[in-house]
Subunit: 349 residues, 2 copies
């Protein structure tokens, strides 16, 4: 399956399928004199003798947020320079979302930018690898230092997903679900039906592809996030705060954030557009810890949300809500009202 | 004097004159909710009670290359985030070329990019502040990590130049001279005539403006340096190597590089297009240490030049040479031949 971006220029292909990595990558590497690899440690340990046997002399990154520190950024860029990377070389970044973000930021900044290819290896990375956002973390929050830098291609070999631990699958599914909400009611219903018993890889492929297409729609129409790209932030405003506070996997925190978004969408419209009980049952059945929402501290959440880089004012916090499936809108919710919504949600659980 | 860039979009103004800073800046700051300042320590010490009395709570950077380390990058971005910088805030960067590069890279990357204004305070920075290149240094060379990020304006208040120490004036003049070479014979002759006795600020203003216009011509037609922007690298290939090796001020090393470029331009054409003696006399009269060229080690220079980020191949080194004043061309000089030219130049001195 090949999906192409639809920018004015600088378009690239996203390949999604099983067992495609080496073949697809060779079509690109043959165009470059030198190729450099950045690979997630866990992924390399699992696949160095099989899927990744063609990878030579990789820079190995500790997976997860550790790869997004200033120190890791320094180590990656200095190692690339020590190896004599040139402007017309290619960098291939293989790993989960964090390694993709960190490797992408290195590609964006070393020699003021070199070509790179994203090879996402987790379900969550079906989201982060699309859209050209790269970043490292600040002590004041995630992804606060970064750049927009489009890859030359994204090669998403679904075989990597087969070794994902259950909590990683659950986390990645949070973004799959978000993309269904962003699309339309039919997609949400089909996804919930396909996963009514369990979330299994076999059933997810069409929803992953649909999710990538949905994300691309928003990203190509608003690359620098001045308008509709904000809608991709659905569930993320409170989700990020919960993720930061409880060190919860990203997509799991996002599901909690989505649940609050559904609550707040109903509250803002003063009617039950969405059946909260249905979503609560569905999320809890799959193991998402909605009970955690009972224990959050409103004041603390407000402070954390106020620091989000997407937030541009004080006195209120920008939120993406839904009028219906696939119908998002951006609104500033007054601080007092937002705090009241959080309190009410806690009481409702 | 106001010069406007000529990009497809995202244009900005460059203001050049005496005593214009506060008035010009207020036209921009009034458009933003919050403004953050990054200021060169030396400049702030000299001007905090006068020209810069309007600057509030600046982040102070040690001037020079120290401001372009990874540690300084971390400190700048973390301080901006600690102060709650938002995407729609403005950053104003006041200082010499190094502070401009470092502050510009922070503006390019914090929150994936915020608006910024360059306020160059040295003669050298008339060059570096134009063109949207930002960078920090690697242990493997200068400016090896960076980004292209256009400012919203450049405000070049020439009053700052009055306190420049003589070696800073001499260094900055190297780039003024390069821009004259890039323009035409008439400009070179007029500049040499105007400075035949001494290099003084009073006579330089029209040449600074002409230099900015020349640079802008190359930059707006080739922002990402895939073609003619390379010509701005005139004198820089060997110049950077000398600068790195002898820790010489940038523009002084560039004059040495320009002298070699003139030599090599003659050699490649097998005729004396340029009167070497004339240039030697002129440069030495003003105190440029051309004798230093006698002591350089060919092999070492070759190694350093091979590491330049503009260099894309091995076996040869890319060079910008001139067929005549204002007529540059890019060529790959074979390593052996280049080494021979350096040897011959040393013997000629």
């Amino acid at each position: 399956m090949e999906i192409r971006t639809n920018y004015m220029d600088g378009n690239y292909a996203i390949y999604v399928d099983y067992g495609i990595l080496e073949d697809q990558i060779s079509q690109y590497t043959s165009q470059y004199t030198s190729v450099h690899f950045i690979v997630d440690q866990n992924v390399y340990t699992l696949y160095q003798d099989s899927t990744l046997s063609f990878v030579q002399n990789p820079i190995i990154l500790e997976g997860g947020e550790a790869s997004k520190s200033f120190d890791a950024f320094k180590r990656i860029t200095e190692t690339l320079l020590e190896r004599g990377i040139k402007r017309n070389d290619l960098l291939i970044v293989i790993g989960g979302g964090a390694v993709g973000d960190a490797g992408g930021f290195a590609a964006a900044t070393v020699l003021r930018g070199v070509d790179y290819i994203q090879v996402p290896t987790t379900l969550l990375a079906h989201d982060s690898s699309i859209g050209g956002k790269t970043a490292i973390n600040s002590t004041f929050g995630k992804n606060l230092i970064g750049a927009f830098h489009r890859p030359k291609a994204v090669i998403y070999d679904l075989s990597f997903l087969e070794t994902l631990p259950p909590h990683e699958l659950l986390s990645g599914f949070g973004e799959v679900f978000k993309h269904a909400l962003l699309k339309d009611e039919q997609t949400v219903k089909a996804l919930m039906e396909a996963t009514k018993n369990e979330i299994s890889l076999d059933t997810l492929k069409p929803f992953i592809i649909s999710g990538i297409e949905t994300k691309m729609h928003y990203v190509t129409n608003d690359e620098k996030e001045s308008g509709i790209r904000k809608f991709l932030n659905l569930g993320h405003t409170l989700g990020h705060a919960i993720e930061y506070k409880y060190k919860m996997p990203h997509g799991i925190a996002i599901v909690l954030g989505l649940y609050f978004m559904i609550y707040a969408s109903n509250a803002e419209e003063r009617q039950n557009i969405f059946d909260l009980k249905l979503f609560r049952h569905y999320f809890e059945q799959h193991g998402y810890p909605l009970d955690q929402l009972k224990t959050i501290n409103e004041t603390e959440m407000m402070t954390l949300m106020g620091k989000d880089k997407k937030n541009q004012s004080s006195g209120s916090i920008g939120f993406v809500l839904m009028k219906n499936f696939g119908q998002c809108y951006f609104t500033e919710i007054d601080n007092d009202l937002l705090e009241k919504y959080i309190k009410q949600l806690k009481e409702s659980l």
